[in-house]
Amino acid sequence: MLTCKDFLNELTDYLDECLDAESRTKLERHITECPNCWVIADTTRKTIQIYKGMDPYPIPPDVETRLMKALEKKMAEKQK
C-alpha cells in the first residue's frame, strides 16, 4: 500500500511523466483515495505550469546596446 510519503517521493517523476505504467497506476490510485495528495499534485503541477508560462525578461535598450557594441568589437578583433 502506497503511503503519502511514498507518493511525495515519486511526485517529481510523476509530474514529469517519466514513470513506468505500473508505478503511475499506483500513484493515480493513491490520489483518487487521498484528497491531500490530490491537492498537492494538482497545485504543484499548476506551480510548474505558471512558471513555464513566464516570458523571458525584456533586455533594457541600454543593456542591449552595450552587449552589441562589446560583441562587435570582439568580432572585429577576431577577424583581424
Binding site: 514529469d16 498537492i40 552587449l67 570582439k74 568580432m75
Partner: protein, 206 residues
C-alpha cells in the same frame, strides 16, 4: 519523458555558420537566447548589475570559445553552462558565506516537506495583473535557498532536462531530482498563500 524544449529556431545551421565566422549568424543566436540568459543570470545572482555583466560575459566567452563547442550538446545548454559559471563567480565574489555553494550537502532528512494544503481557485493567476504576478513569482523564487533555486530555474524555467541540469551544475541525477522536488513543493506552498480558493482553510499535513 523529460522535455527539453528548444522550440523556435533550428540552431544547428546558425551555429555552423557562426563557427565559420559569420557574425550575423552569431548575432541571431544572441538575440534568440539573450532574454533567457538575462533571466537566468538575475535569478542566480539576484542582482541587476551582476546579471547585466553575466549576460555580456556569457556571449563574449561563447564567441571567443566557439571553436571549442563540439556540438554533442545543444548550443543552448552550452551557453547556459557558461552563464551559470559566470553567475556563480559573481556570487562568490560578492558573498563569502557558504550559502553560495551549490554542491553543499543538504539535509534532506526528516524535515517537513508539506505544511499547508489548500486547493487553488480556477486559473488563480488571472486574479493578478501581469506585473503583480511577475512580482509574486520572482519573490517566491528568490526566497529559495541557492541550491534549490538554481535547479528549479534550469529545470522548470529554462526547461533543461534533468540530465542537462545535472551536467551544468555538476550534480548527480538523483541530487537534481531531490532538489527539484523540494524547490517545487516550497514554491507551491508560497504560491498557495496567493492562489488558494477563497474560503478554504489550510490544514496541517504530515
Amino acid at each position: 519523458m523529460t522535455v527539453s524544449s528548444q522550440a523556435g529556431i533550428d540552431e544547428t545551421p546558425l551555429v555552423a555558420r557562426a563557427r565559420e565566422g559569420d557574425a550575423r549568424a552569431f548575432g541571431e543566436l544572441v538575440q534568440h537566447y539573450e532574454g533567457k540568459i538575462f533571466r537566468l543570470a538575475q535569478h542566480v545572482t539576484q542582482n541587476r548589475e551582476d546579471a547585466e555583466d553575466v549576460l555580456q560575459e556569457t556571449f563574449m566567452k561563447a564567441y571567443e570559445h566557439l571553436d571549442q563547442f563540439e556540438g554533442n550538446s545543444k548550443f543552448y545548454t552550452w551557453i547556459v553552462r557558461i552563464a551559470v559559471n559566470q553567475a556563480l563567480m559573481k556570487l562568490r565574489r560578492r558573498k563569502t558565506d557558504r550559502s553560495v555553494s551549490l554542491d553543499e550537502t543538504i539535509d534532506t532528512g526528516e524535515d517537513t516537506l508539506v505544511r499547508e494544503i489548500a486547493a487553488w481557485g480556477e486559473d488563480p493567476e488571472q486574479r493578478f495583473s501581469r506585473e503583480e504576478l511577475g512580482g509574486i513569482l520572482d519573490s517566491a523564487i528568490q526566497s529559495l535557498e541557492p541550491p534549490y533555486r538554481s535547479v528549479f530555474v534550469l529545470r522548470d524555467i529554462d526547461e533543461l532536462s534533468t540530465e542537462e541540469t545535472a551536467d551544468v551544475l555538476g550534480l548527480s541525477v538523483p541530487a537534481v531530482k531531490s532538489r527539484l522536488l523540494r524547490a517545487r513543493l516550497q514554491l507551491r506552498e508560497k504560491l498557495t498563500r496567493f492562489f488558494r480558493r477563497k474560503g478554504d482553510d489550510a490544514f496541517a499535513y504530515m
